[in-house]
Amino acid sequence: MKQKNYLSPYLAGIGLGLALLASFYFAGRGLGASGAMMRAVVAVEKAVAPAHVQANDYLKEYSGGTRSPLSDWLVFEILGVLAGGIISGAISGRVRPETGKGPRISVRQRWLFAVVGGAFFGFGARLARGCTSGVALTGGASLAVGSWMTMMAIFAGAYMTAYFVRRLWI
């Protein structure tokens, strides 16, 4: 199947905005992503070392008490994101192995930097209580002060770093 062009960013944005609005309207909360991933981390920790999770108030918050940490709204939402991505990719002919990178680095180098970048993002997302979905998008639309500050900090951090890692992308 021939790969289709991406949708206009403005149309994609309206679609995304309506999904977010539906989330507020039906569930009374916005979208998210990193919270579900933290629950996956705590699920593993809870399985391996339950007493350790109990002893850490922060981890305990994600531990689901007597239930599984994965019994959570965000976990089901993020499974939907995966399904939605597959559906969209399938109808547009974009489900195909590919590595996003600039021409000057190898695939292996890209994988290494993906782990490093992910680790920074994961740490930062917990420190800021959410990521681009749960804070920037959701908090941005609901006009939360802290979320706007975090959103601007994300862009500032990325633009300040971009020059030093330009070899990865351009």
């Binding site: 944005g13 989330s23 089901f76 590919e98 740490f123």
Partner: protein, 200 residues
């Protein structure tokens, strides 16, 4: 007021989870349609060569924001029942800066990495593994970072209209004006910096 429907209607957890899955499908679908499954397309934002991230994000923000403001004004949704992000200024700014570094180095953010995984991008699982590692480290260090984590607490439901002392409608109108100006600027930057072979 009949919304948020799940809260007003006292939905069962099972029904809420089903709807969470359906809403997630919409979220993932439009992320992928916008090109957010491709890390390089996302990263080119930071070199002004492809401004898709900004355009999609701000279109989504003003769409949902305008919807919330109208729904609230029409009496369709009780905003007091909608959860709102708290404001912890210092950890919020520091965490944002760290996320920015991760975005520029890793190309993805958590949600877009899921969409990358959905479309078999080979860098997405590595990025996701990094995220889980970074979160594990934060969770283990939180007892030592706790003081900073709760610093700069300005309020649980602090909003821009409260701080500026004007109605949500006025703030919303201003945000839309800034976004439109931003879209014009984004188109200008793309024309100046984009390379045709890089943008699909």
């Amino acid at each position: 007021m009949n919304a948020p429907i799940a809260i007003v209607g006292n939905w069962s957890e099972g029904l809420s989870f089903v709807v969470a899955f359906l809403i997630g499908i919409g979220f993932g679908f439009f992320l992928e349609q916008g090109g957010f499954g491709n890390s390089r397309k996302l990263a080119l934002q930071f070199y002004f060569r492809d401004m898709t991230v900004f355009k999609v994000m701000f279109t989504a923000i003003i769409t949902a924001m305008a919807g919330l403001i109208f729904f609230s004004a029409f009496g369709w949704i009780d905003m007091d029942l909608v959860s709102l992000n708290p404001t912890y200024a210092w950890s919020g700014i520091a965490g944002g800066l760290v996320m920015g570094v991760g975005f520029a180095v890793g190309g993805y953010c958590p949600g877009t990495a899921i969409v990358g995984l959905a479309t078999l991008k080979t860098d997405a699982p590595f990025y996701l593994a990094g995220i889980l590692g970074g979160m594990f480290v934060f969770g283990e260090l939180e007892p030592w970072l706790h003081g900073f984590f709760v610093s700069g607490f300005w309020g649980d439901r602090l909003t821009l209209p409260q701080v500026l002392g004007v109605s949500a409608g006025v703030v919303g109108f201003a945000v839309i004006c800034v976004a439109l100006l931003g879209f014009w600027g984004a188109e200008f930057l793309e024309k100046k910096f984009s390379r045709p072979e890089e943008i699909k």
